[in-house]
């Protein structure tokens, strides 16, 4: 068999069933959450109402508590297809801004994580001193840290991409560092002994044994990291007061009660996150297939 990129036969129907179920629950939920306001309105105007009338009105309510799926789809259509990409009202424009800081933060975070891991594995002092700090760093809530970073950088005249990317990096480096340390230490003792009998240098052991052994661990970490990086970018966009990016769209949506906008941004963020993780998953399968010497990889996700 070649690399198994396709889903196993028979998984399409279950996936569609779940999607269908979610949409149904969503429509039912929309009636539940929106109907009190609608009923209020009916009573003020003294209108007789039927359940079907109530459902239709709940599903098409303006500024709904929970907008129905077709309203969100319409919002996505107008903000993605109908608006010019350069327009400030285009979701693509805002998604692009968030994506750029997500990717920059991811690259910086992965770089930092890998460097820290190499340091920890190769320098005994770092092994003892660094790990507690790395773990402590993740106990600080990002929501508390993000405004501070943005404000401090803003005071220094640095705004836009870099401070946001730094917040993404802060979230990203942790899973990469932890996964990479485990990966670099994963070779069997026998293989390390083998290279010792050749009197191999540390770098020869790194390039020929430790790094290739760490790759599967690295990819698992990178997939977690890129999703976190997006979270970091969105969180970093909140304290800027809603200038640009998906985070800013979420914020202005909640300011103005534009729930359609919030849901559309959320879906854009979810689709972006899923796509980024899938791209990494695709690369992972290609690389790990090579590293396994072309053997079928079983841990398909």
């Amino acid at each position: 068999m070649t690399t198994n990129m396709r889903r196993k036969p028979g998984s399409t129907i279950p996936v569609l069933t779940v999607i269908l179920a979610i949409i149904m629950i969503w429509y039912v939920g929309a009636i539940n959450l929106n109907s009190p306001q609608i009923i209020d309105r009916y009573e003020k105007k003294g209108i007789d109402w039927s359940f079907s009338q109530l459902a239709t009105d709940s599903w098409n309510m303006k500024r709904a508590v929970l907008p129905s799926p077709h309203q969100v789809l319409l919002e996505l259509k107008t903000t993605i297809i109908d608006k010019n990409v350069t327009s400030k009202r285009s979701l693509i424009y805002h998604a692009g801004i968030t994506l750029s800081s997500t990717l920059l933060g991811f690259v910086l975070g992965a770089g930092l994580g890998i460097s820290l891991a190499v340091g920890i594995v190769y320098v005994e002092t770092l092994d003892k001193s660094l790990m507690p700090w790395i773990i402590t760093s993740q106990t600080i809530p990002i929501l508390a840290l993000a405004p501070m970073v943005i404000v401090v950088f803003g005071a220094m005249g640095i705004s836009g991409l870099l401070p946001k990317a730094l917040i993404s990096m802060y979230l990203c480096f942790f899973p990469v560092a932890v996964g990479m340390v485990k990966g670099l230490r994963s070779p069997q003792p026998m293989l390390v002994d083998l290279l010792n009998t050749y009197s191999a240098s540390k770098w020869q052991v790194f390039w020929r044994l430790r790094l290739p052994s760490a790759v599967p661990f690295l990819f698992a970490s990178l997939k977690v990291a890129i999703a976190l990086s997006l979270v970091g970018a969105i969180v970093a966009e909140l304290p800027t007061g809603g200038q640009a990016g998906l985070g800013a769209r979420l914020l202005s949506g909640s300011y103005y009660g534009q729930t359609n906008l919030i849901w559309a941004s959320l879906i854009a963020a979810a689709v972006m996150s899923a796509s980024l993780v899938s791209i990494l998953g695709f690369i992972e399968r290609k690389v790990c297939y090579r590293l396994a010497g072309g053997q079928e990889i079983s841990n398909e996700l």
């Binding site: 050749y198 009197s199 090579r290 053997q295």
Partner: protein, 268 residues
């Protein structure tokens, strides 16, 4: 030919004197080796045999500088094990093939040659030569998972031989293989040793394997790990597996078995 390269004035490739090695574990000190004396001459095939925990693998790891003795002196080719390792004086075959899954058979054999900085043409030539010696020509482009366990272990033997060491350490190389494959590889290894005249140190817990292959058998016993008997074993050079039925073979095997039984502590 080994006589030319085998070090100093004496013929001793390995010289072990009063070596002790203690492992410090949670449950206390384990005496892995206690007062071990042994010398091995160039061109010998010496087997260490004994039950699990008798220190046979530990002793070989000490010789290979993968383990440091607590006390005593060890010389390999007239120098310390560390120097010998740095000079890449030996090849080591492990219990498992220990092949890198992302490298082809050929590239696995090339690994030590790359690390030791052999030229590109020489690398290719040596890899070809030793893969042929273990009858694996034609499998160069295969990956380890595509080979049987016996073939994988042969790749690891070719890899150890490819740097042409005069001294070969083999740690239960056939322990994980089935009886038939094991017999076959024993036969091949005997021919190989006779052809190349290398010094081989071989760890096993199989009495027939030890008697069939060795020129000398070192019988070891656990708690503390020590040598209890050294048996010369001079079966004819042109022996085949059939010799295992002969009286001389059985006599030696009997002595090994007696040694193992004497050293066994039933109190444990």
């Amino acid at each position: 030919m080994s006589l030319v390269s085998a070090s100093t004035a004496t013929n001793n490739v390995v010289e072990v004197k009063e070596v002790c090695l203690d492992f410090h574990t949670k449950d206390g000190v384990v005496k892995a080796l206690s007062n071990v004396d042994l010398s091995i001459n160039a061109g010998e095939f010496v087997s260490f045999i004994g039950p699990s925990g008798c220190g046979k693998t530990t002793l070989m790891r000490v010789l290979a500088d993968l383990e440091k003795p607590t006390s005593g002196s060890v010389l390999v080719n007239g120098m310390s094990p560390t120097e010998a390792r740095k000079q890449r004086a030996y090849g080591y075959v492990f219990q498992a093939p220990a092949l890198l899954p992302w490298r082809t058979v050929q590239d696995n054999v090339l690994l030590p040659l790359e690390i030791m900085g052999y030229g590109k043409d020489q690398r290719q030539q040596l890899a070809q030569e030793y893969l042929q010696l273990v009858s694996l020509s034609g499998f160069e482009a295969k990956y380890p998972w595509q080979l049987s366990g016996g073939m994988q272990q042969r790749v690891s033997i070719a890899r150890a031989l490819s740097v042409e060491p005069q001294l070969l350490f083999m740690d239960e190389p056939f322990g994980a293989l089935d009886e038939i494959t094991r017999d076959h590889l024993n036969d091949q290894l005997l021919r190989l040793w006779q052809q190349t005249k290398k010094t081989v140190v071989f760890v096993t817990h199989s009495i027939p394997e030890a008697v069939f292959l060795s020129s000398r058998i070192v019988v070891m016993s656990p708690r503390p790990g020590r040598i209890i008997d050294i048996i010369d074993c001079n079966l004819p050079a042109d022996r085949t597996l059939d010799i295992r039925e002969s009286p001389e073979f059985l006599t030696i095997a009997q002595r090994v078995r007696a040694g193992l039984a004497a050293g066994h502590n039933y109190d444990d």
